[in-house]
Amino acid sequence: MRFLLDTEQAEFGRTLDRMLGAAGTPAAVRAWAAGDSGPGRALWARLAETGVFALAVPEEHEGLGPLPVELAVAYVELGRHAVPGPVVETAAAAALLAELPEGTGAAKEWLPRIASGDALVSLASGAAGPYALDADAADAVLVADGDAIRLAAGHGPLRESADPARRLFVPEGGEVLARGPQAAAALARATDLAAFLTAAQSLGVGLELLRRTVEYVGQRRQFGVAIGTFQAVKHRLADALVGLEFARPLLFGAALTLDGEEIAAAKLAAGEAAYRAARAALQLHGAVGYTEELDLSLWLRKALPLRDAWGTPAQCRARLVPAAGGPAPWRESSAG
């Protein structure tokens, strides 16, 4: 057993971090929220060069994947840098398309474009809600309804999200690509992948909220000293770190098994930890944290929607303790 990232995986994360840090992501997020997807698409193009979007696409469709551990590493960084757009949905759509029955042609058409970063694809699944994220900017919108999967023909008007950089639309019409048990099974796996990548994104959002808050409380002075010297402040941040650091191994545990219950556990823990980090960040920034001008707002507004997207805490818990009961799903695997 070596339950640690290897050197290449860790370096991949650092490379993305450096690249996104230098790319002026906050400006792209603000433009995206205003309906200008240009800077965001430019960012996607640079991300694609690192192979991020190819990680979810199978090799036979010009991808590199699927590589769940690398995906987790990458999506933590996408969260840390608040990268706008349907990043999770595009990867989940890739997983869905790759498993659709032969002959639909959609996989052949879209997967190479997803891998190269040329196509942003959104995904709406009735079970997770009626909205397709960023359908206006996406090149395609997949809609899952029961065991039918269709390619939407259009979408309704913008429904404003609590996070303006998450632009929500109800998709409309379109042709059915596939239907039946195979499509339903593909959808189930794609939905799990979306939950898994949202968990990774949440963890990144939480880590960045904590980092920015630590920096702030080290500088902000009240009563003649930095507020970071106060025990009440320290303890709130310490608790935020405990939450995030115990969500991290669940995320990578889920990456190794891609088991639905492990993913639900990771989604629950990462979503809650990021949300608690956001609450701490807002409280400790005080009134300045309540303003839109401060870049902190870009992450603050993500924490709650990501906690609830692709599996609310209640849905995750219900999956882990089904009414019929039974031992924890990972006990047999851990008992060899």
């Binding site: 057993m1 070596r2 640690l4 106060f230 770190l241 009961g325």
Partner: protein
């Protein structure tokens, strides 16, 4: 990155599981915090030791199997999953032994470790004093040089299991003129039956006489029972606190087993949907703790030091333990009030978690200052 156990580790797991299935008492032993229970647990330790399961990670010469940290984790998982008794020897095995491995002489190791492994000598930790809890460096009990050794005087308190234990280890002030409070301290072992030692049991919150106060009046300790260099006790002691907060005291196996029992209790008691979320949180917490530990064990196996991260561990498991037991008590309803219930006992014990091994307030300061880099301030 993987979570795979080797075939050899799987075989070790199977061997441990088979032994435990054949040996774990069918009826739970009486509480180890009573005289009767202490004796029963000491006998259990001897049984474990006879087949070399008492200290699996120790070298074979001291009664262990010399296994690495992953096999130790496997053993602990199986131990608690089998419902095996709590370890009466844990203060010695988890706190003193790592100190001896790191700082003692060969003679001391050969003399002390085998009888600790067998349960023949049970050790208590004598650190806290009435005015020195979290601020341990303010301790006042002293050791004064005498012919061939030291004379201990002072008072130690809240010493777990010292009411029935045989020996104790702690730090004492040997240089009262040292410029700083954590200098001039010496780490040593002493006999609780020695002349000059008065042990006064203190009833705990659960009424059991498991704590003790120790009054020391010119208790002689020979030089051979000093660990490391005199005056260097603080550094040696701090290497023990890492063990206490980190991996060894609360292995994930314990919480995995407890979470499983909680899920079973939830089902037995009618699967109340109002409690389901807390049961889910207990399952997730146990898995998170297990995987966090695997990651730390991987770092450890790769030669890295686990430092202030052990404070993350301590805050996590201590808060988790209470939440888990509170959930169980809610499920038990009126029966939760019965003091002799397994969950009720566990609950009272869990309440001590955020207090001992360095209070959680101190742990959060450590996390904030050493892991997050926040400025030091007044406590």
């Amino acid at each position: 990155m993987n979570l795979d156990f080797t075939p050899e580790e799987d075989a070790f797991r199977a061997e441990a599981r088979a032994w435990l299935a054949a040996h774990v008492p069918a009826e739970p032993l009486p509480s180890l915090e009573t005289e009767e229970g202490f004796a029963a647990h000491r006998a259990w330790e001897a049984e474990l030791h006879a087949d070399r399961w008492a200290v699996v990670s120790w070298p074979e010469e001291f009664g262990g199997r010399g296994v690495d940290i992953f096999k130790w984790l496997v053993f602990e998982e199986e131990y608690y999953a089998a419902g095996a008794p709590g370890r009466v020897t844990q203060n010695g095995i988890n706190l003193l032994a790592p100190t001896l491995f790191d700082h003692a002489t060969d003679e001391q190791r050969a003399r002390v470790l085998p009888s600790m492994a067998s349960g023949e000598v049970v050790w208590a930790q004598a650190w806290s004093e009435p005015e020195s809890g979290s601020d341990l460096a303010s301790l006042r009990s002293r050791a004064v040089r005498t012919d061939g050794g030291w004379l201990l005087s002072g008072q130690k308190t809240w010493s777990s299991r010292a009411a029935f234990a045989d020996k104790a280890f702690g730090i004492f002030r040997t240089d009262p003129d040292a410029p700083k409070p954590h200098q001039g301290l010496t780490y040593l072992m002493f006999d609780l039956k020695a002349p000059g030692v008065t042990v006064r049991p203190i009833g705990r919150l659960d009424g059991k006489p498991a704590f003790a106060e120790l009054f020391l009046d010119d208790v002689f300790v020979p030089d051979e029972d000093v660990i490391g260099e005199p005056g260097n006790g603080w550094r040696i002691a701090m290497s023990t606190t890492g063990n206490e907060r980190g991996l060894t005291l609360r292995s994930p196996g314990r919480f995995l087993a407890a979470a499983d029992r909680l899920a079973a209790l939830w089902r037995e008691r009618g699967a109340d949907p109002a409690v389901r979320d807390r049961v889910a949180d207990a399952l997730v917490g146990a898995r998170a703790y297990q995987l966090f530990t695997y990651a730390n064990a991987s770092r450890f196996a790769a030669g890295e030091q686990i430092g202030a991260e052990s404070s993350l561990n301590k805050v996590f498991w201590s808060e988790y333990d209470i939440a888990l037991h509170e959930t169980a008590l809610d499920l038990l309803g009126a029966d939760a009030e019965l003091a002799d219930g397994e969950w009720a006992e566990g609950y009272v014990f869990s309440l001590a978690g955020p207090i001992y091994a360095g209070t959680n307030e101190i742990q959060r300061d450590i996390i904030a200052e050493r892991l997050l880099g926040l400025p030091k301030g007044r406590r």
